[in-house]
């Protein structure tokens, strides 16, 4: 199992959206809101090939941060965290291989089954790559306030 402390795991499990930040080739940090899926060891996200620039960035530079920042998206929890890690793109079959994450996805977005049933209407949206993030370092703000120094954890 992973080394992330309990409260951060709980945030990952609760969060409907987290902000994934990648680094572009020109060095600029760029942030994408995505659904974080947590299996107890690694963070998974998926990206449609329609919005694939992030995948290109991650293939060139796997260093990422996942920010859990929005209390509304985390069931009202006020605590916050940022996790730095290395990302790996998994895409042996963009049509189907991401579906192994469906149970985790469904738990956060039950409507995904309905949307998947409408795949004929959105065929390219469901051609997806999986982003697997191995956490390396985490900062945690128990009160969510940046005026307080964060707790730091490393894997």
């Amino acid at each position: 199992m992973g080394w992330l402390p309990g409260p951060i795991c709980e945030l990952l499990e609760a969060a409907l959206v987290a902000e994934l930040t990648a680094v572009r080739p020109d060095g600029r940090a760029i942030t994408y809101p995505l659904i974080p899926l947590w299996d107890g060891e690694r963070i998974y996200m998926t990206s449609s090939i329609l919005f694939s620039r992030k995948l290109d960035h991650l293939k060139r530079n796997p260093r990422v941060a996942v920010s859990l920042s929005d209390p509304v998206a985390m069931g009202g929890r006020a605590d916050r965290a940022t996790i730095q890690g290395d990302a790996r793109i998994i895409e042996p079959d963009v049509h189907a291989s991401w579906k192994r994450l469906l149970p985790l996805w469904r738990a956060k977005e039950p409507s995904i089954d309905w949307f998947l049933g409408q795949r004929v209407a959105l065929p390219l949206f469901f051609e997806r790559s999986t982003i697997e993030i191995t956490p390396l370092r985490a900062l945690y703000w128990p009160d969510g306030l940046a005026g307080t120094a964060p707790q730091e954890f490393a894997g």
């Binding site: 409907l16 959206v17 902000e19 930040t21 990648a22 680094v23 060095g27 600029r28 940090a29 760029i30 942030t31 809101p33 449609s48 090939i49 329609l50 919005f51 694939s52 620039r53 995948l55 290109d56 530079n61 260093r63 990422v64 941060a65 920010s67 920042s69 929005d70 209390p71 509304v72 998206a73 069931g75 916050r80 940022t82 730095q84 895409e91 963009v94 049509h95 956060k108 977005e109 039950p110 409507s111 995904i112 795949r119 004929v120 209407a121 959105l122 065929p123 390219l124 949206f125 051609e127 390396l136 370092r137 900062l139 703000w141 969510g144 940046a146 005026g147 307080t148 120094a149 964060p150």
Partner: protein, 462 residues
């Protein structure tokens, strides 16, 4: 919104987000994000940021500020998606020791401004380029896929078959009410008509791809903008062209069988006219759809031509005034399906030189045109019953009049909102189906009455 666009305006938007994440790339090359307290001065174009405790923000390194928002919907997921990021270098701290950043670039998305479907459509090129690179990386061709059944449904636009089934079934019913009904030829007519329509649907995609009309369209809906299977890389242009030819050829072959069986000159004429109109709809040199004649061609083809074709197959050649009259409401309503569907397509159609009626005329005339044509449909039904050309039972179709009014008001309400027009487009298709279906039932009732009560007729006679 792309990088570099209106940072001052972006700051006003950023200020509306309840929290802001400050992000930079740290000394080890990893991004780092901290939710910070900000004071946004949009007029001055700057953001003042309270320095976070216990975290070192590197000097002279580009910073970004991101706001993101969703509305959770328990049991469903979430909606109201929007996010915004601005970038800038930190300037000298202000007198309170706060970081001062003057953004120079902006990027984000708000689904209230750019609906998800449009956002996705605008990204199709990105997906194609990605698959090209992925194919090179994996040393095999990677293409998007759909299950065969879904692919056929999408490529042929199968659900639109009601446009063919209504006039053919009505033609058969009118003939039955007149005492002519031959089940095998009726079945062949249905199959042949469906093949022709599916072939024309596919051909329409082929020609609209060739002209660029489907490529220009970033607001396709399930009812407009074509099947897009070529644009999405699901089916090749060549395969679609072959499919169109095969379907039209199958329909034509069935037509020839019926012609041989019935030996009707009228059927030959109807078939030839149908072939010419079908090809001329989008194919050069006539390209009727590109000159504001597409609506007329569709009304003519999926009204009188289909109905009378089905009718003469049953009667062996005779054409009646009743059959001609019955085709008129169906013709108008099917033309209105196209007319309504063209409303969201008009920017793309105009860009491709496709001068449809909604492209040629403004909002007012287009809306008045709909009301006039829809009203005429019901007027023709009432008049037809009064003249003894339609059975009295056809008057039941008038119950659909409020639905036509609903379409008219929906058009007025959502004229410039492609995705809000989707239910209106669906309603127009249903209107055609309901009115056409009720007319079929009206003639079936007439045929049944005559069969059960010899001499009894449901037509007024003068």
């Amino acid at each position: 919104m792309r990088g570099g666009a209106d940072p001052a305006g972006a700051l006003r938007r950023l200020a509306s987000y309840p929290h802001h994440a400050l992000t930079w790339v740290d000394e080890r090359g990893y991004p780092q994000s901290v939710v910070v307290r900000t004071t946004i001065d949009a007029a001055a174009g700057i953001v003042r940021i309270d320095r976070p405790a216990g975290v070192r923000v590197p000097p002279a390194r580009e910073l970004s500020l991101t706001g993101s928002h969703i509305r959770p919907m328990p049991g469903y997921g979430y909606d109201e998606r929007r996010h915004l990021t601005v970038w800038g270098l930190p300037e000298a701290d202000d007198d309170l020791g706060r970081l001062v950043v003057r953004p120079v670039a902006v990027w984000g998305w708000d689904e209230a401004e750019t609906p998800f479907f449009e956002y996705a459509e605008r990204s199709v090129g990105q997906s194609k380029r990605y698959l090209t690179r992925l194919s090179a990386d994996l040393h095999r061709v990677v293409r998007p896929r759909l299950d065969l059944g879904w692919l056929i449904l999408r490529a042929t636009r199968l659900p639109f078959l009601s446009a063919t089934l209504v006039p053919i079934l009505l033609g058969i019913a009118v003939a039955a009410a007149a005492g002519s009904f031959d089940p095998p030829s009726a079945l062949l007519t249905i199959v042949g008509g469906c093949a022709v329509q599916l072939g024309l649907n596919v051909a329409n995609d082929v020609f609209d791809t060739q002209s660029g009309a489907d490529d220009f369209n970033v607001n396709p809906t399930p009812y407009s903008g074509g099947s897009r299977v070529i644009q999405y890389g699901l089916v090749s242009f060549r395969a679609m062209a072959l499919l169109a030819a095969a379907l039209v050829a199958a329909g034509a072959a069935i037509g020839l069988v019926l012609l041989a069986a019935r030996g009707s000159a009228a059927l030959l004429l109807i078939g030839l006219v149908g072939l010419v109109v079908g090809i001329a709809y989008t194919a050069p040199p006539l390209r009727l759809a590109y000159h504001g004649l597409g609506e007329l061609a569709v009304g003519f083809g999926f009204g009188p031509l289909m109905l009378l074709g089905a009718y003469v197959v049953q009667t062996g050649g005779a054409i009646s005034a009743s059959a001609v009259w019955a085709s008129l409401p169906v013709a108008i309503l099917v033309a209105l399906i196209l007319y309504v569907n063209e409303i969201p397509d008009r920017p793309a159609d105009a860009a491709a030189g496709k001068r449809t009626l909604p492209v040629r005329f403004g909002r007012g005339p287009v809306l008045r045109g709909y009301r006039l044509a829809a009203g005429a449909t019901f007027g023709i039904i009432v008049m037809g019953a009064g003249l003894g050309l339609l059975p009295l039972t056809a008057l039941v179709a008038v119950v659909a009049y409020p639905a036509a009014r609903g379409v008219a008001s929906g058009l007025a309400r959502a004229y410039d909102q492609p995705y809000a027009l989707m239910p209106v487009m669906a309603s127009q298709i249903q209107l055609h189906l309901v009115v056409g279906g009720l007319l079929v039932l009206a003639f079936v009732a007439s045929a049944a009455t005559t069969a059960l009560v010899p001499g009894a007729r449901l037509f007024l006679s003068w």
